[in-house]
Structures are given as structure tokens and as C-alpha cells.
């Protein structure tokens, strides 16, 4: 199998979960995954592969944007996690997306209801760039004052996430990945574009 599992599934899975938890608890902070390398022809990076390994199993349904299944991802997921791939975005517990895959027509992911806001899809996003300090300003729970984030060309994604506030507690939570880097923007985050600065030089990342 070209896609590798964690060498120690119990403890590596736990460590990866704690990175995702830390990212979700402090939106805009970067975590670096120590996950197995992905095949050369994969469209997702190690941080995202590690997240899938840590969170998916027989009880989860995954929606995959066209193109992101490259390199035999679906078979690998079936083999390593048993998770089911769905074609219906509203049924998905997790969705593998790129910012571009969220532009019109936007997939209708589950946003939960006011009574059960947890019944929503969590976005697992593949980005071209991800770094602390950037044009997007984050505020809210988990953030002392404000943080800023560089996410590359991701306007459709950020528009979608910025719209979360108006629908709260319904909404989409996003785990952002770029190669081995990982950050999160939960629905509780207030998001706005600040005066555009120059992207940081180290923000672009290799795809693995």
C-alpha cells in the first residue's frame, strides 16, 4: 500500500487528535503534523492524511471534492479506516475540499440545526499556503484579542466561513491544511479581511 498507516495507530492517532484539538481550541495557531508521507501523486498533504487516519472510521461519511481523490486515496481510506465515501454533501461528517471547490455551485454541506448544531459537516481543506500572520483577522473564543492568518488564494472558503457568524450556532467548522501544517477556523470565529499585506515568503508549502 502506497498510503501508510500510523506506525503506532493508538498513540500516533492520539497525538494527531491533540494537534487538531489544540488547533480548534486556539483558532489561527499552526500545528505541525508528524504523519506518514503521502504518495507523490496525492492531492492532499501529510497533515490532512494524518487527520483522516485519526478521526475517520466505519461510522463516518466523507465527501471528496473532484480531484482530491488522486493517487488512490479512496481505496487507501477504505483499507485503513473503513470510512464510507458519500456523493451527498449534506450527509457528510467530513468533506475534503479546496477553496475553489466551494465556489458556485457550492456543495450543500450540513450545517446542523439550531437544536442540534453539532450535526454538521467539518471541512478538511487543502490550501496552497498556510502561515501565521496574514491578511485574515480572526477573533472570538480561543483567541486573545486577534490573530491573523495567511491562507493563500482562498476567497470562496473564507467567504463561506465568514458567513458562519450570521447563522450561529449552525455552521461549518474548518480544519485547514497545507503539507504538514494544520490550523483550524471553527464556526465561533469572527473572520474578516484586513488591509491586504504581502503574503509571507514561507507561507507556500510543498504538497507533502
Amino acid at each position: 500500500m502506497r498510503w501508510k498507516a500510523f506506525p503506532d495507530p493508538v498513540h500516533d492517532g492520539q497525538r494527531q487528535f491533540r494537534r487538531v484539538l489544540a488547533a480548534m481550541a486556539e483558532p489561527g495557531t499552526l500545528q505541525v503534523a508528524e504523519a506518514p508521507a503521502v504518495p507523490d501523486d496525492a492531492a492532499i498533504g501529510a497533515a490532512l492524511w494524518g487527520t483522516l487516519l485519526a478521526l475517520c472510521d466505519l461510522e463516518t461519511r466523507l465527501w471528496i471534492a473532484p480531484g482530491l481523490e488522486a493517487g488512490g486515496l479512496i481505496d487507501a481510506l477504505g483499507f485503513h479506516t473503513g470510512c464510507r465515501v458519500t456523493a451527498a454533501p449534506e450527509e457528510a461528517d467530513f468533506a475534503l475540499v479546496t477553496p475553489a471547490s466551494l465556489s458556485a455551485p457550492a456543495p450543500a454541506f450540513a450545517e446542523g440545526s439550531d437544536a442540534y448544531p453539532d450535526r454538521s459537516t467539518t471541512l478538511l481543506v487543502v490550501l496552497d499556503a498556510l502561515a501565521e500572520e496574514g491578511p485574515w483577522r480572526l477573533a472570538g473564543p480561543g483567541i486573545p484579542g486577534t490573530r491573523t492568518l495567511e491562507v493563500g488564494a482562498a476567497a470562496p472558503l473564507m467567504r463561506r466561513l465568514a458567513a458562519n457568524r450570521a447563522r450561529f450556532p449552525r455552521g461549518l467548522d474548518a480544519i485547514l491544511t497545507c503539507g504538514e501544517r494544520l490550523a483550524a477556523i471553527p464556526r465561533s470565529t469572527r473572520l474578516e479581511a484586513q488591509a491586504l499585506g504581502q503574503p509571507q515568503e514561507d507561507s507556500a508549502c510543498m504538497s507533502q
Binding site: P9, V10, H11, G13, Q14, R15, F17, R18, V20, L21, A22, M24, A25, E26, A54, L55, C56, D57, L58, E59, T60, D93, S113, D114, A115, Y116, P117, D118, S120, T122, G140, P141, G142, I143, P144, F168, P169, D173, P186, R187, S188
Partner: protein
């Protein structure tokens, strides 16, 4: 331990709880239903907190367990021994040395630090439960953000007693949205929830709910302009360490009415005694 997975729970159960925790952190104060499992300890004795601890705990973690603020109360001893047995993790009584702290009824006096996780054992996660016993009804109240009944209840206290008569499990509002039960901590501890450096996770095993307050999150104790929230005060300092800023337990020392007040947080008290000595 033979026959059981690391930290007792099987990996599928841990993943289910972990997915729930991510939702809980993303919707601060909202009670996420989860498929709570039976634990080898009775419901009501911390099974919710234990399931959360088991789901987040790793081999590098250092665990502290307290009950009533103390590391040496029987239930704290029992839960700590359980995790030593099923996870083999290092344990400590020093608040500053722990990165996961499971607690019942207290928040440590020593301010928590970034990177620490505090796991609360919760008996009744629903702050509205004693006003409205039906889950169907309270779920609707949260959905509609209809919290008037809670204010009415608190105001009835004032009308009757001149004070809000809730002294523990004092309801809070998290990030301006969800009215949340902070677990039966004394209201003395409520201010520590506000803008904490640490992540706070809450687990109710029997009721099968988990919720979270992320670090740096606004947490307000419900009150009224003419009756602002206030915390307990004692006339005397701790008889052992002299602290005036900690929650004190009353200890009866004889059968002639003799009593003294000492810190409920044993680690805090001991550190202060050592500093003085």
C-alpha cells in the same frame, strides 16, 4: 493492563468522543450528545470525565486528579489509580506539573497555563434542568436562546432571600450565547472560567453529553444590575497556610463547636506552607 486497550476505551469509542470534542470546542457551551459508554465505575462517580480523559490522554501526558480540590480524597485516589493501571501515565499532585487535570467540584487555585486541559466531571449538564425537567423543552430553549426562565428563577431567590441562593453550579453564559452549567464548582471558582489560559472540557457520562469552554473565551456568571454576581468570602484566612484568596473548607475539630477553616486545594495549601517554612 491485560485485555484492555491503552486508557481502557477502545479506539472506535475514543474517535467518537474525539469527534464530539471538536464539535464542542467549535460551539462553546453547547452540550454535544455522545454515545457514552459504561465505565467500570458507577455513573455519577465521574464516568463522563473519565471517558473524556481516556480519549485525550497520551503516553507523554502527566495527569492530576482532584475531588473537592484535594488529590487524596477517595474518589480522586481511585480514578488516579485507574489511569495509572490502564494507561500507565505519570501522575502528579502539582497543578503546575500536570497537562491534563481531571476534577470534581473545584478549579485549582494556581492559575492554569496555556496547553493545560482541565476535564470536569459533570452530574447534570443541563443548567435549565431544575427549572424544566424535560429534555425536549430545554433543547428548544437553547435553540431559541430563550433563557428568561433562568433569570426569573434567580430573581425569585432575590425576592425571597435578598440574595441569589445558588452557591454552586452557578449558571454562566459562554461567549454571549449558551447558558451553561459549570459543573458543581462553588461560584467562587466561576471567575476562573473567564478568559482562562487552559482548555476546559466537561463530560457527563450518565446524561451522555460533553461540552467545552476554549481558552480565552468570555464566560459571564448570570446576574442583575442591582444584584451583581459576587463570590464567597471568609472572615479568617486558611488556618494552615494563611491564604486569604482561596476557597476554604470548614473542619470540625471537636464536639464543643470548635472549627477551623483550611484550603480545599491541598496542593496550593502545601506549596504555601513550604514557602513559609
Amino acid at each position: 493492563m491485560n485485555g484492555y486497550n491503552f486508557a481502557y476505551l477502545d479506539e472506535q469509542t475514543k474517535r467518537m468522543i474525539r469527534r464530539g470534542l471538536l464539535k464542542a470546542v467549535a460551539i462553546p457551551g453547547y452540550q454535544v450528545p455522545f454515545g457514552g459508554r459504561e465505565m467500570p465505575m458507577p455513573y455519577g462517580w465521574g464516568t463522563g470525565g473519565m471517558q473524556l480523559t481516556a480519549s485525550i490522554l497520551g503516553e507523554e501526558d502527566v495527569l492530576k486528579v482532584i475531588d473537592q480540590g484535594a488529590d487524596d480524597t477517595t474518589n480522586a485516589v481511585s480514578i488516579r489509580a485507574f489511569f495509572e493501571r490502564v494507561a500507565g501515565v505519570e501522575t502528579t499532585t502539582a497543578t503546575a506539573d500536570a497537562n491534563v487535570i481531571q476534577t470534581r467540584h473545584r478549579i485549582p487555585e494556581t492559575p492554569l497555563a496555556a496547553g493545560q486541559i482541565l476535564v470536569f466531571q459533570v452530574p447534570i449538564p443541563e443548567p435549565l434542568r431544575f427549572i424544566e425537567p424535560s429534555e425536549e423543552e430545554t433543547r428548544m430553549m437553547h435553540a431559541l436562546e430563550e433563557y428568561g426562565v433562568m433569570h426569573v428563577k434567580l430573581y425569585e431567590d432575590i425576592a425571597r432571600h435578598g440574595h441569589i441562593a445558588t452557591t454552586y453550579a452557578y449558571p454562566v453564559k459562554v461567549d454571549g450565547r449558551y447558558v451553561t452549567d459549570p459543573s458543581p464548582i462553588p461560584k467562587f471558582d466561576n471567575p476562573k472560567l473567564h478568559m482562562s489560559e487552559a482548555l476546559m472540557l466537561f463530560g457527563a457520562g450518565r446524561e451522555k453529553r460533553l461540552y467545552a469552554i476554549p481558552p480565552h473565551t468570555r464566560v459571564e456568571s448570570l446576574d442583575f444590575e442591582d444584584h451583581p454576581f459576587e463570590i464567597q468570602e471568609w472572615d479568617a484566612p486558611c488556618a494552615l497556610c494563611g491564604a486569604r484568596d482561596s476557597f476554604l473548607d470548614e473542619v470540625i475539630t471537636d464536639d464543643r463547636g470548635g472549627r477551623m477553616f483550611v484550603c480545599s486545594d491541598t496542593d496550593y495549601c502545601q506549596n504555601r506552607q513550604e514557602e513559609v517554612a
